[in-house]
Symmetry: D2
Subunit: 194 residues, 4 copies
Amino acid sequence: MFDVSVWKKLSRGPQVILLKDAAVISAFTGLQSGDHVVDAGAGSGFLACYLGSIVAPGGRAYSYEKRPEFAKLACRNVEKAGLQDVVEIKEKDVLEGIDEKGVDLVALDLADSPNALSQAFAALKPRGFCVGYLPHAEQVQSFVAEGLRVGFLQNQTLEVIHREMLVRKQGFRPENSGLLHTAYLSFLRKPLKT
Amino acid sequence: MFDVSVWKKLSRGPQVILLKDAAVISAFTGLQSGDHVVDAGAGSGFLACYLGSIVAPGGRAYSYEKRPEFAKLACRNVEKAGLQDVVEIKEKDVLEGIDEKGVDLVALDLADSPNALSQAFAALKPRGFCVGYLPHAEQVQSFVAEGLRVGFLQNQTLEVIHREMLVRKQGFRPENSGLLHTAYLSFLRKPLKT
Amino acid sequence: MFDVSVWKKLSRGPQVILLKDAAVISAFTGLQSGDHVVDAGAGSGFLACYLGSIVAPGGRAYSYEKRPEFAKLACRNVEKAGLQDVVEIKEKDVLEGIDEKGVDLVALDLADSPNALSQAFAALKPRGFCVGYLPHAEQVQSFVAEGLRVGFLQNQTLEVIHREMLVRKQGFRPENSGLLHTAYLSFLRKPLKT
Amino acid sequence: MFDVSVWKKLSRGPQVILLKDAAVISAFTGLQSGDHVVDAGAGSGFLACYLGSIVAPGGRAYSYEKRPEFAKLACRNVEKAGLQDVVEIKEKDVLEGIDEKGVDLVALDLADSPNALSQAFAALKPRGFCVGYLPHAEQVQSFVAEGLRVGFLQNQTLEVIHREMLVRKQGFRPENSGLLHTAYLSFLRKPLKT
């Protein structure tokens, strides 16, 4: 088992992708041990670590990050998580190309994710998934439109909401306030034949 | 990658645990390849298959089901999913005992899940998780109260909501109607020392 | 008291605005007895009837509908609701002008609601509200942008979600499936001085 | 129009009932000008003020509050809202009896709301509503069970969720964090014949 207490110990620089969203990126694409995945930008490296924990031991997660300070932070987090044999932080702009080929999943969390879709398409194996982590409605529209243009099939877009419940002697009820929105998750799929 | 189209091909007898909930059961406990898990009752075997897809190839999922017709159905689904080397359906009432010891996770979806908590506690390794899939508020209260009584630490309870979004030329909006509630997920954890 | 059983007896032609949204349109604008309101298009006349029930007896609701068959349907619903002294269905395209001046509230539910905003602005009294009932995100953006252009202040946009709860001997839980989205409600306000 | 800026100017002592919930209490019972309503406890008087704004000018809202300091605060808020001719704060424990008879609506927000149900039943006119504002699931169960026992018909229970949307140049999305739960609203109805 991956030690879930690690999530609280990692350093948080840029906004992180939370477990609630990482769980769905993994589950809805069928990710499992042995798979090869790419994500960009690494940010603090949370998503890369989660994906790494699933593809370990035989698989590999490559995480692109163009800003040196974030790449360094992500590297430290990968080591804290004990995932250095599985997760590789690459200090490189994903828009300049994805080195890996035939990967199972590309996850994009960039201000301009649509611009990375042709690179993602080229890197994916047939029937591989590209998932966008997109805070705004307009970003989803651009992501899906550009995805269709480069040859992806549209799969689905959803928002993941977790309602924390208080379970106490005085009664059962949802938490009063908390997180309402992180991002929409948009799933594109590469066709079997292109 | 596990072929996600399998989820639509499996036979649905009793109510199934959906991917939205299975994803969180797996992610919030840190499940990964090589782990050993127990779930009960198997029902149609959906949860066992998802957990099996994550713990493969080195791990194992044992799924208890006391009703012969469901056990048979679950077996067929495991074969359809190609997980027969990882998932074992056991035609046995989990209340009569869990054969496995030192497991990482026990997931319970029974009408009387609280009654299985002492068995779950005994089967788990230190820091292992027991997760209840509980449709009603009162079931959550009983599950947590009995869990604390047998020695578990209370971790958290949450409800997972997925909002499907329509992304079309005419505009972006949430799906008009759909699924609102399946069950609350309640996480208990076995202490390091008992 | 207005007889709430009326809502189930009215005829439903075009998509109706539900009480969950009508309640917020009324409450967030401070609507009360004696006020004058305009809505367009009338559709089946549900919103006009609800607003009429609040502004009665001294106030008045004017409901514009350009399609004769809907105007007729709305008229019949107003009579069924016993609101013929308060609600007036006007068979007229609101884009051609709002006859009333100094009204407290204009509610718009049109395919091209932004095009009606300058008419709404002219009809409203200072500090009056214009509320858009807008199914898609892009419609909200257009509505707010055009609203600001014609002189409105942006107030707020929200989505109203009602979760029905089952309260039974066997337990308490949310309804399994149901309505997820009707429309976003966008509130614009006319400044005190223009 | 009732001046909605008043809501921000009222003093907040005890937890207040928000407009999102007050709107539904009013709309789902058919409240309108001329009606007579009772609520208890007054708390800061927010609900009494909202109900008062709807029943004005001919109706009346009676708000019971046993704690002198809250009754005083509620009185001051009623004056700030300019509703002193419509809303009467009564410094009295509602469990000791409701003086009014034949009222249209009784709204209860007490730690022990079920204990006030027989008083509410006696005060209501036939087909009048009693609405409970109940933070916990167990309170809803007690409220409904006791309501049925004293002769009410069960109507419905729901939770009202407002999702604030950000509508900006950079895009459209739900607010990141905020209010998740206030209370469940449970509607009971007095039968026509008792």
